[in-house]
């Protein structure tokens, strides 16, 4: 059941210049969390709205989130220290359908963390991770621990393959033997992954982002356009998603 919890920060580890991993102590959150779900975190008194952050790991009573400083809210979060208490609503949303064998997970930038949770839970066949540059790469070791193969690409070629995730993903799909693509990252990346998966007739699930109000499905501000049974339908990223079958998304 989603609920409001007041977990304590166990530690705050800086992964890159702007990305922090926070481990939160909460048996309930860790137990209830599913890959692809997110939590909605209150970021200080100054900010009225909570901030949605994906769950990166949930184990042994500890929930890990990885966040990039983008504005005031994420800056406030990045400054939390061990012992601080957070106000967290969650876990929220519909996560990934992991009832597939031989899953490829695809993550781009700050879309990488939730894919670790999915990869771990699914025992993914391969992970394809895209970053801007070597300095922005995160969690590569963790993926190597849980995936059979990990492919890294960078926009500037400073780490792994030069280019986008599309390269390794296409090769993997061409090789065959994979039965689902799961992706989170910037919209163009999701669109490219979905297009490739379609070409190779592999089902694809994408995790979308949208600005949120309530986070629980009541206010309808996080709408995204989808097609269900040939009919256009506005659905809620927070409640019907954030994960959607790629073929339902109107890009």
């Amino acid at each position: 059941m989603p609920e409001t919890y007041l977990p304590t920060v166990l530690d705050n580890r800086r992964l890159t210049e702007t990305v922090h991993a926070l481990r939160l102590q909460s048996a309930e959150l860790a137990r209830a969390a599913r890959p692809g779900q997110f939590v909605h975190i209150k970021c200080g008194e100054g900010n009225l709205l909570r901030r949605p952050v994906s769950i990166c790991r949930a184990e042994d009573g500890v929930l890990t989130v990885v966040l990039e400083v983008r504005g005031e809210g994420t800056r406030w979060l990045s400054q939390r220290r061990a012992g601080d208490m957070l106000d967290v609503l969650g876990p929220l949303g519909r996560g990934f359908d992991l009832s597939h064998k031989n899953i490829i997970v695809v993550g781009g930038g700050i879309g990488v963390p939730p894919m670790l949770f999915a990869a771990r839970a699914a025992g993914a066949k391969a992970a394809v991770l895209g970053f801007r540059s070597r300095e922005n790469a995160i969690l590569a070791e963790e993926f190597r621990d849980v995936c059979e193969a990990v492919y890294i690409t960078t926009d500037d070629g400073s780490l792994g393959e030069h280019g986008t995730v599309a390269g390794p993903l296409e090769r993997l799909l061409r090789e065959g033997g994979c039965s689902a693509v799961l992706a989170c990252g910037p919209r163009p990346m999701l669109q490219a992954a979905a297009a490739l998966a379609e070409t190779y007739k592999v089902p694809c699930q994408v995790s979308l982002e949208e600005r949120m109000g309530c986070g629980v499905g009541a206010c309808l501000v996080c709408a995204c356009k989808t097609v269900v049974d040939g009919k256009e339908k506005m659905r809620r990223v927070c409640k019907d998603g954030p994960v959607f079958p790629a073929e339902e998304v109107v890009w």
């Binding site: 059941m1 989603p2 609920e3 409001t4 209150k42 900010n47 009225l48 709205l49 909570r50 609503l89 949208e210 600005r211 949120m212 109000g213 309530c214 986070g215 629980v216 499905g217 009541a218 206010c219 309808l220 501000v221 996080c222 709408a223 995204c224 356009k225 256009e232 506005m234 409640k239």
Partner: protein
């Protein structure tokens, strides 16, 4: 002493003076996972239109200092789908259901009022103040003539009490309140959102895809309170006060200023339990001050 929170509002009995605001609570299903809907005085459901509406394109929300802007644009399944698909579920709870309606024409308001009366909602809230849609909405709410016209016609078609929701985007809200009262409204609710805007300075684009949106949340509370006071001085029908209420103390202020009941909206987004803590806060205040009935709080202001 146990404070009595119940009251009769526009002829309808409410267990508590705390309801949830239209558009912030959907049709009750989502927050119903968090608390017992039986604990609410009432539920104003998401704004209904004659036909299904997809609403405006996203982004539909922007944050502002102690407020939010929304431009949902009345996304809803249409009045018929509400009656068949949502109302039966809501009826399982012992709380009042207030149907919020928005029409493109006076006829549309009337059509919905008829259907919802037959479906036996407890109250109809006539929204003439939505700032996020082109036709209808705000246009009806900014002149005395059109506000009175909608009210009069809806009254002819409604078999349940009619509450009219006023816009704060006007020069003189008391004047409109009086016109609506004269036209036969059973109650008033206020305020809807204040029209506002935010820009992204990196892209030179509005944050909202709709350019502008409606401001709600604590930022608007002092404006809402002033308007409730002005309207309470101008009319004798009951008032549902709202705009930025997030604590029991805020609600008490609103009641003292002249509201008979209060709505909690945006506060839900920070705290899903806000309507319950607001209710508890009102009760605790009354017991501390030895005020027996919540009706004794309404309009208790001592202006200078």
């Amino acid at each position: 002493m146990t404070a009595d929170l119940s009251l009769i509002f526009a002829g309808v009995k409410f267990k508590t003076p705390v309801v949830v605001a239209s558009g912030t609570f959907g049709f009750g299903r989502e927050y119903g996972e968090y608390f017992d809907l039986n604990d609410l005085g009432g539920i104003c459901v998401k704004g209904l239109t004659v036909k299904e509406r997809p609403g405006n394109p996203p982004p539909r929300i922007a944050e502002t200092p102690m407020g939010i802007l929304n431009s949902v644009g009345l996304q809803n399944p249409g009045v018929d789908a509400f009656i068949s698909g949502e109302l039966p579920n809501l009826r399982r709870f012992d709380t009042n259901i207030i149907a919020n309606i928005s029409g493109n024409t006076v006829e549309e308001y009337c059509e919905m009022a008829e259907k919802l009366s037959s479906a036996k909602v407890d109250l109809i809230e006539v929204n003439i103040s939505c700032p996020n849609v082109k036709a209808g909405g705000l246009a009806f709410g900014t002149s005395c003539q059109s506000a009175a016209l909608v009210t009069r016609e809806v009254k002819k078609h409604a078999a349940v009490p009619v509450m009219v929701k006023l816009s704060p985007n006007v020069t003189d809200i008391a004047e409109i309140a009086r016109a609506v009262e004269e036209a036969g409204a059973d109650a008033l609710s206020l305020i809807n959102t204040l029209l506002g805007m935010r820009l992204n300075i990196e892209t030179f684009r509005p944050v909202l895809r709709n350019n502008t949106g409606g401001l709600s949340g604590p930022a608007v509370f002092p404006v809402a309170l002033r308007m409730v006071w002005q309207v309470a001085n101008a009319v004798s029908i009951p008032i549902l006060g709202m705009g930025g209420i997030s604590t029991g103390a805020d609600a008490v202020e609103m009641l003292i200023a002249g509201a008979d009941m209060v709505s909690v909206g945006t506060a839900l987004f920070a705290d899903p339990y806000a309507p319950l803590s607001v209710t508890r806060g009102i009760k605790a205040f009354m017991e501390r001050k030895n005020i027996k009935s919540v009706t004794d709080l309404t309009g208790r202001i001592l202006p200078y």
